[in-house]
Symmetry: D2
Subunit: 366 residues, 4 copies
């Protein structure tokens, strides 16, 4: 069976609409447009309900790639999985991470599992399905499809499952009400948490981390149910879930591999260093930093208002949302280890790792 080869490229951006770095890679021949499977991006909005930088970035990427793929701009979104995560607080630096797949590569796997990526998406949800069982179930199906797409058989070879999921706006709430349906919450900001949490439980179900009996009754209530590899981001720009599943596979000829660890809380420096080591890097060694491709982590304000017994004030701040605080502070820690602010730290880790903490994955050149 022929192998897939995967490459992952990290490209700094100068603004949400900046595609110049991507186009330069294409022009130089380093990146074949047809090979682009997915683009994960950190954009510089507030990461909240009215963060339009995510949508704008997708529009700009579609406009740029459409002529190079022979597609209309709208068709690009069906072909490539886009996950734009808003919020580059603190030292975080806006950038794109491009995942490229070349199928049927001549060559052989080096004898150990190497980086492999699969994508899938769900159908569109109704507003009242967001943060409920329907979203959990459809996500679980999509995760299974993405595993097949990545040619990964064992859940233990899955190291990071990034989901993009929808949120509720005033308009969507009103639209559901007009049909006599109640949504899970009328608050747009709160709906982001429900949607991220339901998506994470969907991952956990697909990977066997929770049983089929865990569903919306546990959502946002029972924090002992979670996935150790799920990462979800909510955005205004879509009504379905997009799944990008990353792991290692013997069907891959990639020069890269991925590993992960789980932060127990927002100041878990040891876990960040472990994640580095799980990908074959040596934390605190600056030569290792050269082999780093990117880090992917979730940040969360501990829901009980304390970290290692000491109070934090993120949840009671009515000026800055807790997700912005969390990205800034966890971003500082991870950037310190990585030696760069161009890392992917996303806020809101509901059911993504243990309460207070979250997964952290590292892709590195082997």
């Amino acid at each position: 069976m022929p192998l897939n080869s995967f490459d992952v490229m990290r490209i700094p951006t100068s603004a949400p609409g900046d595609v110049s770095g991507l186009l330069a890679l294409i022009s130089s021949g380093a990146l074949e447009p047809q090979s682009i499977l997915a683009i994960l991006s950190k954009t510089e909005g507030n990461g909240g309900v009215n963060d339009f930088t995510r949508e704008y970035a997708v529009v700009a990427l579609c406009n740029a790639l459409a002529p190079r793929l022979g597609l209309a701009p709208r068709e690009v979104e069906s072909r490539i999985a886009f996950v734009m995560s808003g919020g580059t607080e603190g030292v975080l630096s806006p950038h794109l991470t491009v995942f490229a797949r070349r199928p049927d590569v001549v060559g052989a796997n080096v004898g150990e599992p190497r980086l492999s990526v699969g994508i899938a998406k769900t159908r569109d949800f109704l507003p009242e399905e967001i943060g409920r069982d329907a979203q959990i179930e459809e996500t679980a199906k999509a995760v299974a499809a993405a595993m097949r797409d990545a040619r990964i058989d064992a859940a233990s070879d899955v190291h990071f499952v990034q989901i993009k999921c929808p949120l509720l706006t005033s308009e969507r709430v009103t639209e559901a009400a007009a049909r006599g349906r109640r949504v899970v919450t009328a608050s747009g900001y709160a709906s982001m948490g429900y949607s991220r949490g339901a998506s994470a439980l969907g991952v956990a179900r697909a990977l066997g981390e929770i049983g089929a009996d865990v569903g919306e009754a546990q959502l946002m209530k029972d924090w002992s149910r979670y996935s150790l590899v799920a990462s979800s981001s909510a955005g205004i720009e879509l009504m379905h879930n997009v799944v990008i599943l990353i792991g290692n596979s013997r069907s891959s000829a990639s020069p890269l591999r991925i590993g992960h660890a789980v932060m127990q809380d927002a100041i878990d420096l040891q876990a960040v260093m472990e994640a580095f080591e799980s990908a074959g890097l040596s934390a605190l060694d600056s030569r290792s930093q050269d082999r780093l491709v990117n880090i992917f982590a979730k940040a969360e304000a501990s829901p009980n208002g304390a970290i290692r017994g000491l109070r934090h004030t993120m949840l009671d701040d009515s000026d800055i949302n807790a997700t912005r605080h969390a990205r800034a502070t966890v971003g500082g820690l991870i950037a310190g280890v990585a030696g760069t602010g161009a890392v992917y730290v996303s806020g809101g880790a509901e059911h993504q790792g243990p309460a207070r903490g979250g997964p952290v994955a590292v892709i590195a050149r082997a």
Copy 2:
């Protein structure tokens, strides 16, 4: 010559007006009210112009200590140096650090310099003096006085000089204008930077880090002029500078010592670890964390908009001030090493360490 003994206590607070932890220490006999020299605090406001948590905390502390010192509340401020630094973004946890001095201790210095603290203050400034030569000069004089107070002779034994300095408000700007005087900037938020910067140049001049020719002409312009040990915080609640100078002295019988390092940028994990080691601790060793008393650091959004060549967005964010971003992100890194969020990270490092970075000092039990 009899020795001074110094103790430093870190006390979590549940709100800006919370003095219960302080009073419990006094009741238990662990802290003698008469011995309190200075209180440094992280309060949970925005750290900006309209952060009244600093002023409120001082009022609460004065009210609580007045009967125990036999003073009126207003007199307490003349006796104890208060520095309230607003802003506990991210994992930072509100707390007080109390510096206590007992003079004429029977006993002997252990043969190596130990923690010693001195305090001083300047006269009140006029609004138009803030961020100008007058503030630099008066601060330099006060730093020299604080060194004498701490019985420290050599500048190399000074490891941290914390200054509390005033800021401009609309009212103060208008008052100066009514007298025909122009202030350095009409923006309250911008004035905080000027005041912090002038204070830091005052420290640098007193410690011989810059020559007497460096003054307001270089202020906020020539970032190559700075102090490696200055830390200044601006607040609405005073019109003079308060100086708390911390170092090691052979005149001290304290069980504590202080060391410091200098962060070259906001993600300089190595410098944070060095600071730990300079105080005799071993970074990444959790037993060392038990001997930690507190860390004191300055956080800054790199003024050129980039960290190690990659763009950050802190300076262009019109929703969250750069100082809030900086405290959150540097706080995350330092808390990761310290294993606690109850660390003193203060924003705005103008002329406090190299542009982009800042000093980080560690007090530990020897």
Copy 3:
């Protein structure tokens, strides 16, 4: 039966802790400390969970009044009803409104009902009682007591009922959870809405605006149930409800009277003008503005996301809370009619007037 006389004074403040205007009125003999019944204040915080300007203002007022009342600072709060409403966005100007009552006045009622004020308070609530039936019931009882205190018999003579009510913090949520109790919401900001809404339903029940069958089942759901004269503000500084009830009574010898109207939405200029006229003033006549004592209004972001069919963006703004938007924008309209920014506009009008709008009351010299 002897009459009560009431006076109402509006005093600008220069900061949350500023009591100089109040003390000047006392020194001048214009205000007798013993006569102070209630103080309503607009303070310049964010009006959200972590707005400590409210608590700080109360501390400052208690410290200032205690020696003048021969009480300890803590006892002042039992004697005087304090309602601090945070948030002076836009043109709103921080100020105190002092309500003074002199009993047993020699003189006679002028033959028409005149301003009368009564106060009362509930017991402390448990965290899990906030936003539930217990809060509604206890508030209704306190409103009835305040009517008696104001010597007002008919609900139609009640024109404004201001309530100060508690909110939930992370700590309070955790404390309840430790006792096995679930609070109505874990979000501090959201709890403010529940608490305000339950308080308003309590007013409505006491005044016969809703039946006894309306309770927590309708709270935050059925917006057709409301009081036309309730105004509630949530704050971190208390755990009980404080009621200040204002109306007209023939038992009053006051030179003042109060009237009110109901804004149907946030741009209801006509209702603001009607409220002026209901108090005997002529809107758009600047001489009338001289007889104005103060205006009291509630501001709300229309919950369906639209005003007169056009979308607003207050509810979807993740940078600024909707209550801050609402105070700024309704404050602009009311200040335009009043000719001054020192008006009392408070945010969050859940069950206080029709959804989208809220009550607006005017006190004027007759």
Copy 4:
């Protein structure tokens, strides 16, 4: 000489990228794409440095109009003048205002001046030219060109001059520094004020409101120099100034006319009513509201920190920028008179009307 006919259409938008209302008007035949001269828009960003909704809206409009104009998307911007003003705080509702011109209309002027619009633009500025004499001069030239384009001879027939102008970002400041040039301010947010102010002085110079001797020496210092009809908005998306000049002309066959008044401060209800009447409408008459096309106003936080002698807190708020406060609060007043939130209120009125106030213009059907 043949006449021009002008139409102005106000179109609500559901998001920054929403062009559906515009396309519906085109499809229905009500709007001829070739006739579009300018589009002024209120978009729902923060109106600050990192407000990308302005740029995104322009991209969306260009993409939508390009095929209908037979142009490439980038060419649309050269043909149509776009002014996107960010910030729909409070009751303000996001919308587009489309100005359409049909030349050589058969018909006659009705015997009185009617609405006429002209556009022009300057060359691109260097970062160091922003907020300096070069920007003032080039703007004055462009205003003169726009008057000719509008066929307006007398300055007294000019009622509103909208300018879109650039701002400084960290990158632009750094680029200038690399060439050895100092920009007027290193703060992106502050640069917006300089750019708006210089643009307004350019208008004032072109219309003879100030002499040629007034320039950068007076900019942001001498508030007695201003234009009564200038309105400028700064944005990240351009480096030149765009001018849209609106007045009445006998060369116009439009069914519309424009009038204006000048608000003396942010609560000047009388001026808003006067502006209505200057356009032939009757304020407070709801039938008049039906003939209203749109209102255009500038909002400003009074620079001396007070309105009619009472303190406001907009300038000292480190959580919300003063321009956001000002739009929300002035928007509330204007929407109250207009009966709709879909009005154009733009923040930052430096040299645009007297300090504290600003111009307010009304377009109405005659």
